[in-house]
């Protein structure tokens, strides 16, 4: 049986030579993501801004404008309506009314009654209300979780390898996270708690790639003491390239089936993850490893302190 080989044996691509182009692309991607975040901003869900959200499904596709007119006619503040997964499902968002829970309950009932009146086929699939206090905490916890896991990773890479690896990994991770957020600013897909979980997972799996390559660089640095750092990094990246390819392929297949078949609620989540996996692979292959050169990694980086002494003894 002949097996599929996506990356031929003895592939030798000059990643290091391309590094200035890659750095430029990375910088442009990161900066434009930041610009997008600042101008368009994220389409934050009720998890993060507080408010009331309901998912309504109709048997027929429904006109958003009509529905918006119905909801706005009730005068409960500025509503936001968007299709969700298809033309027959709509997300309705409203600010929380002042007052206690009874006031919220009243708004929910009034809106449902008004929609049902015009559309007999409406079914209310979910209702979520989040108070401003809780949403502030959710934002805070989300930011803490992302920053903390990045910090923990930087420490671990530093401890397990050397500080250069910690720095290059974190730079690449910041790029991965920023570009993913930029994607959400661009597409205006709803950014909710699930997406924070997706971002954390992207951090985890982008890291996987980087550890595998870093591991190989360390191994080769110990093995080939005389080799220049540029070719050595190229060798390491190329040696691990077929693994990088195969794993990315497997993840893409799994996530792809989730994206196409996993239902509407998970769509944004899966899209984020899929994009993140691709971005993470890019940054591992093109950016973080080449960045090590700029940070001054060389054969001396992993030379055990006692090796020098041992050699001296031997030469005597």
């Amino acid at each position: 049986m002949r097996l599929l080989k996506l990356v031929p044996d003895n592939t030798n691509i000059g990643f290091v030579r391309m590094r200035w182009v890659a750095f430029a692309v990375t910088l442009v991607l990161t900066l434009s993501s930041i610009a997008l975040l600042m101008t368009r901003g994220l389409n934050l869900g009720v998890d993060f801004v507080g408010g009331l959200m309901m998912e309504v499904k109709f048997e027929q596709p429904v006109k958003l404008d009509e529905l918006r007119a119905t909801v706005d006619g009730l005068d409960y503040g500025s509503s936001a309506l968007q299709n969700f997964g298809g033309p027959d499902t709509v997300l309705v968002r409203l600010p929380l009314p002042p007052g206690d829970d009874a006031a919220v309950q009243k708004v929910v009932q009034k809106v449902q009654a008004a929609i049902s009146e015009n559309h007999k086929d409406a079914s209310f699939r979910r209702v979520e209300t989040v108070s401003g206090k809780v949403s502030d905490e959710l934002i805070r916890d989300g930011i803490i979780a992302i920053v903390l896991s990045m910090g923990a990773i930087a420490l671990f890479t530093w401890f397990r390898f050397e500080w250069h690896f910690g720095v290059s990994t974190i730079v690449a991770l910041i790029h991965d996270v920023t570009v993913t957020l930029g994607f959400f600013a661009l597409t205006q897909l709803e950014f909710d708690l699930n997406i924070v979980a997706a971002v954390l997972t992207i951090i985890g799996y982008s890291l996987n790639d980087k550890v595998v390559i870093d591991d190989r660089i360390r191994e080769n640095l110990r093995k080939y003491r005389q080799m220049d750092i540029g070719p050595l990094i190229d060798l390491s990246v190329n040696e691990t390239l077929s693994r990088t390819y195969a794993t990315t392929m497997a993840l893409t297949l799994a996530l792809g089936s989730l994206l196409l078949l996993g239902g509407d609620v998970l769509f944004g989540f899966t899209a984020a993850m899929l994009l993140g996996i691709v971005i993470g692979t890019y940054s591992s292959v093109f950016v973080s490893s080449s960045l090590l050169i700029s940070l001054g990694v060389g054969p001396h980086t992993f030379a055990p302190a006692d090796t020098g002494a041992a050699e001296k003894v031997g030469s005597r």
Partner: protein, 530 residues
């Protein structure tokens, strides 16, 4: 790396068999599993509300309100302690209760030491730190200042919350909903989850009410003009009638409160819905005495500071039971009866988050999640097969075993599977093969370098293991952070991810190696296709 002792082989097999046994119940409907013989494993995974539909409600206690109530109680206790003091009542004056402290003047300077001793005894020691529930200080010679300590506040909140959980449980049980989950979250929040509940408004009605029932005498000396203007005579307060909203003056001190109720039921009396109640024996005696002393006067039945009704006491009520009539219908009388039976909440609770998922959406999500998982396994399986041949098959067996083990661990530990959890599962399917990819690629490389089959496999496993450990340790760190700081969906995702990381290292490294070693030992191949 290629030797397995007998003990090791059998323990691996034992783990896998146990995995299958505990995962199996998940493949069958719940009713069917319950009918299995008693020795069969029956534990299924918990499904989150997003998968089976239901209501999730997050309640927050009103900490300020509780602190204020506690300070009022501290004032009341302190003053009554001084009134009943042994060796003669201690007279006090100029009582002020403001800014979290109570202060008053002791009329006779000679009494100050006695008063301080009494009050210090009244405060309760808390924990091992020696802090007391409140501090007693003397200022300007004869002014005594009582301040609540932070330990006192924390402890008050703690006990109020423990009680609140109990009260909520009783109220929800009364509604007859099945399997509610009621758990404390943090210091002042309670999560209530009721699967299958579609319209949570009735539930929220029950949860949002303090249900403090008080019987108070109506202040008949109050000037009607003053009452209309909202001014109450000393010792009285203005409350509103629940149905009409009219103001009424009642005495501040309650004759008796709902704490002493034994039972409450909704009853139909002359075509009107009323709530009948019965006091415990102490409460009944007290009720009898007060009604005897106040025949002919009106008293107010007050619920959460609103007057339900204010009937006249026509004759002493000696049996310890009575009825509350007002403008009730079947629903509201039942609600009041439930509230009275379950007792009052020690602290006011507010709904700060609510999520309700309909059963259709949940069922859709389960179906979509299952289909996506199966397709993911299939797609990844085919990919592994065409890429690594026989070694891909071993990786695929490990993959399926991994899914089985995840399900088994989730069932055994009673962890909850949520929609993000399903995503975590699919992701794990993709990620679990990474370990096998690493190993297989390494074996390929070693073969290219000209090593013989056995040596290539051995080196492949050895070299790849280090990388696998590094990568999975980091992923565990991320999952731990997610679990610690994540709420709701993030937690559900982190749980599955964590379990998946651990089981995948076992299946992808240990189990796959066992298969490969077994094959090598039986066939002794001199060449391999990889």
């Amino acid at each position: 790396m290629l030797e397995f002792s007998k003990v090791k082989i059998w323990s691996i097999i034992a783990v896998l068999v146990a995995g299958f046994i505990f995962a199996i119940p998940n493949a069958f409907p719940e009713e069917q599993v319950q009918a299995w013989p008693s020795w069969a494993p029956k534990k299924q995974m918990n499904l989150g509300l997003d998968l089976r539909g239901g209501s999730h409600i997050l309640l927050e206690a009103n900490a300020e309100g509780l602190a204020r109530a506690n300070i009022d109680k501290m004032e009341e206790d302190a003053l009554s302690e001084l009134r009943r003091a042994e060796g003669g009542a201690i007279a006090v004056g100029d009582v002020s209760n403001r800014g979290g402290r109570v202060s008053f003047l002791v009329r006779n300077v000679d009494d100050v030491d006695r008063a301080v001793d009494l009050l210090r005894n009244l405060s309760m020691p808390i924990g091992v730190t020696g802090q007391r529930s409140f501090n007693v200080e003397v200022a300007d010679g004869n002014r005594i200042v009582l301040t609540q300590t932070s330990a006192g506040r924390t402890q008050a909140m703690e006990s109020a919350m423990t009680q609140a959980v109990e009260v909520i449980r009783r109220r929800i049980d009364e509604l007859g909903t099945r399997e509610p989950t009621i758990i404390r979250q943090g210091s002042q929040r309670i999560v209530v989850q009721v699967p299958g509940l579609q319209d949570p408004s009735a539930l929220k009605q029950l949860l949002g009410k303090t249900a403090q029932l008080e019987f108070k005498l109506v202040d008949i000396t109050a000037d009607p003009a003053d009452v209309a203007a909202g001014r109450a005579p000393a010792g009285s307060q203005i409350l509103q009638m629940a149905d009409t909203g009219q103001p009424i003056a009642v005495k501040r001190r309650a004759i008796i409160t709902g704490d002493q109720l034994m039972d409450a039921q909704q009853t139909l009396q002359q075509g009107q819905w009323v709530v009948s109640f019965r006091f415990d024996s102490a409460g009944g005696r007290r009720f009898a005495r007060t009604t005897q002393e106040n025949v002919g006067k009106p008293f107010a039945i007050v619920l959460d500071n609103r007057v339900i009704s204010a009937p006249n006491i026509n004759e002493p009520i000696l049996g310890g039971s009575g009825v509350i009539s007002g403008s009730f219908n079947a629903e509201s009388s039942n609600e009041l009866a439930i509230l009275l039976r379950s007792g009052k909440l020690p602290v006011e609770l507010k709904v700060v988050e609510e999520r309700t998922v309909g059963p259709d959406l949940g069922a859709d999500s389960i179906r979509a999640g299952t289909v996506a998982s199966l397709v993911a396994v299939l797609a990844v399986g085919v990919f592994m097969l065409v890429t690594y041949g026989r070694f891909g098959v071993y990786a695929n067996i490990a993959l399926v075993l991994n899914v089985v083990l995840i399900l088994a661990v989730m069932s055994l530990t009673g962890a909850t599977m949520t929609l993000p959890g399903v995503a975590g599962m699919v992701l794990t399917i993709g990620a679990a093969v990474d370990a096998n990819v690493l190993i297989n690629e390494r074996i390929r490389e070693e073969r290219r370098k000209g090593r013989n089959v056995r040596a290539a496999v051995e080196t492949g496993f050895k070299e790849a293991s280090r990388t696998i450990w590094d990568a999975n340790t980091m992923n565990l760190i991320v999952a731990a952070v997610m679990f610690a700081f994540g709420s709701g969906p993030i937690k559900g995702f982190a749980v599955v991810l964590t379990i998946g990381i651990v089981t995948s290292v076992f299946t992808a490294v240990t189990v796959a190696r066992l298969f490969i070693v077994n094959w090598l030992n039986r066939k002794r191949p001199t060449t391999i296709t990889i």
